[in-house]
């Protein structure tokens, strides 16, 4: 056999052991397969198709003056759709990311190489975060911005839109971390989906229950992030920042728990 001398050994240590290779794999799964363009196409058809209808087709069918807050109002609707679709997209794409590999035995195979378990979880999070954010939030945000600017015949202020997209991104990352954590804890997809949907659907219920009695709790729910995005794109002061802080904290807790649990997984 050939000598080892020419090959340069990997020098990653600690939690980073194997991370670069795993992240490369996760990126390849997004960008070297049809996944990226299917996601782009589906999200674009729904979100920007909806917007295109409102901006270009509906005025032809129902001619008339646009209301004064047409742009802001339409953007409200689009951002709500974006938050719903991007979260559903995240649940369906990522629900099997860890469980599928645990069930198939691929996770055990990967971990037989010099790979840290933390790197396994973090690479899943970052790789999927980049893919999901790019296809479901930022590309759509760019197309939405272009459509509105062309429709209005002027460039809209970019900072409010970017801030709104950042809040949408944080909302997506919250659910991504949740699903990854659930994947690390459970051995089948059913509980992952059930719990994630319960969190998704349960938050508006809690919001309705506590909105009057404890508004501070209502504004601390991560589900309020899309609502904050409404304030952001209108460039209005936000009523509270607690949901940003809570979502950030919960995202970190979910990832920490995912790593903690995965380190104890028996293969």
């Amino acid at each position: 056999m050939a000598e080892n001398v020419i090959l340069r050994p990997v020098v990653e240590q600690g939690w980073r052991c194997g991370f670069a290779n795993l992240l490369r794999l996760e990126n390849q799964r997004w960008w070297s397969t049809r996944r990226w363009w299917v996601q782009c196409l589906v999200m674009s058809v729904i979100l920007n198709g909806l917007l295109a209808y409102g901006l270009w087709i509906n005025p032809l069918l129902e001619p008339g003056e646009r209301p004064p807050d047409f742009v802001a109002g339409t953007l409200d609707v689009i951002l709500i759709w974006m938050s719903i679709l991007s979260v559903l997209n995240t649940l369906f794409i990522v629900q099997g990311a860890i469980i599928g590999e645990k069930q198939s035995g691929v996770a055990a195979w990967i971990l037989s190489a010099p790979v840290s378990r933390s790197a396994f979880i973090i690479a899943k999070f970052i790789g999927n975060a980049v893919g999901l954010l790019a296809t479901a939030i930022w590309l759509q945000g760019l197309l939405i911005y272009v459509q509105f600017s062309v429709s209005e015949g002027r460039l809209l202020p970019i900072l409010p839109i970017v801030t709104a997209l950042l809040l949408q991104s944080q909302y997506l990352l919250f659910y991504l971390a949740l699903v990854i954590m659930l994947g690390a804890f459970f051995a089948s997809r059913a509980p992952v989906l059930v719990i994630a949907f319960a969190v998704l659907i349960g938050q508006p219920f809690i919001d309705n229950l506590v909105m009057e009695s404890a508004p501070w709790l209502s504004w601390a729910l991560p589900a309020k992030l899309p609502e904050l995005a409404r304030f952001a794109h209108r460039w209005e002061p936000m009523p509270s920042y607690s949901s940003i802080v809570v979502a950030l904290a919960l995202t970190s807790v979910f990832l920490t728990l995912a790593i903690w649990r995965f380190r104890r997984e028996e293969f």
């Binding site: 340069r8 050994p9 198939s104 035995g105 691929v106 195979w109 037989s112 790979v115």
Partner: protein
């Protein structure tokens, strides 16, 4: 390598080996590709290198498993039942890979297929219920443990020769099995060196005897295994 190695089904064999190699080597890229190609050649998968693994047979998966385990040239390769559950051709291919690989690395593997052990092993350890019962070079194990037994097949009247042999100090027992025109001896000896030089000469002193076969008794590993572990117990 586990008994049933699993990979990403959508990946090709080349992509799988490249992925595994990058856990050990940062570059250069062309050297990693060379290593991947070398491993594909080693396990005989070069022609299927760019096909998705989902179309691979059990034997091909096992060979790919060996290739990915060997990609960083480990000093020791541990394989768990590498030929278990394979059809005869798949088994043959895996054993051939192991034969080639044993020139480069030490292979430690477990198996219940004793025929495979005889084909590719240098040293054998027999375990029962977690206890190591015996460990020895395969040749030594197959030849016999405490005493060497010589096997002779003779034609003609062997009684005089048998008496001569039985009188030797280095002979423990002579077990005779008579056939129609042949006699088979199993001579258990205490000194292999003397027996090797003297036994045949003693027999050939009798000019009427023809020696049809002469050699040390070879056991099948299965005989040894059953003898050591005991019938009716699980190995």
């Amino acid at each position: 390598m586990p008994q049933d190695p699993r990979f990403y089904e959508h990946m090709t064999a080349r992509e799988t080996l490249r992925f595994k190699a990058r856990f050990f080597y940062a570059g250069p890229k062309e050297c990693i590709e060379d290593r991947v190609s070398e491993m594909l050649e080693l396990v005989g998968l070069a022609e299927k290198a760019d096909r998705p693994i989902k179309g691979f047979s059990g034997g091909e998966r096992q060979r790919l498993g060996i290739a990915q385990a060997q990609v960083n040239y480990p000093d020791l390769l541990i394989l768990d039942e590498p030929a278990a559950g394979l059809d005869p051709l798949g088994r043959r291919d895996v054993l051939e890979v192991m034969q080639r690989l044993r020139q480069h690395t030490t292979i430690f593997y477990s198996t219940h297929i004793l025929d495979d052990v005889q084909q590719v092993s240098d040293t054998v350890a027999i375990m029962n219920r977690g206890e190591l019962l015996v460990q020895a070079p395969l040749d030594q194990l197959l030849t016999g443990r405490a005493h060497t037994i010589y096997v002779l097949t003779l034609m003609g009247d062997a009684r005089a020769a048998q008496a001569r042999v039985e009188h030797q100090e280095w002979v423990s027992t002579v077990r005779v099995t008579a056939d129609v025109d042949q006699t088979r001896w199993e001579v258990r000896v205490t000194d292999d060196d003397i027996a090797g030089s003297e036994l045949l000469r003693l027999v050939l002193e009798d000019k009427n005897l023809r020696v049809v076969e002469f050699g040390t008794k070879k056991y099948e590993l299965e005989d040894i295994f059953v003898d050591i572990v005991g019938k009716g117990q699980n190995g």
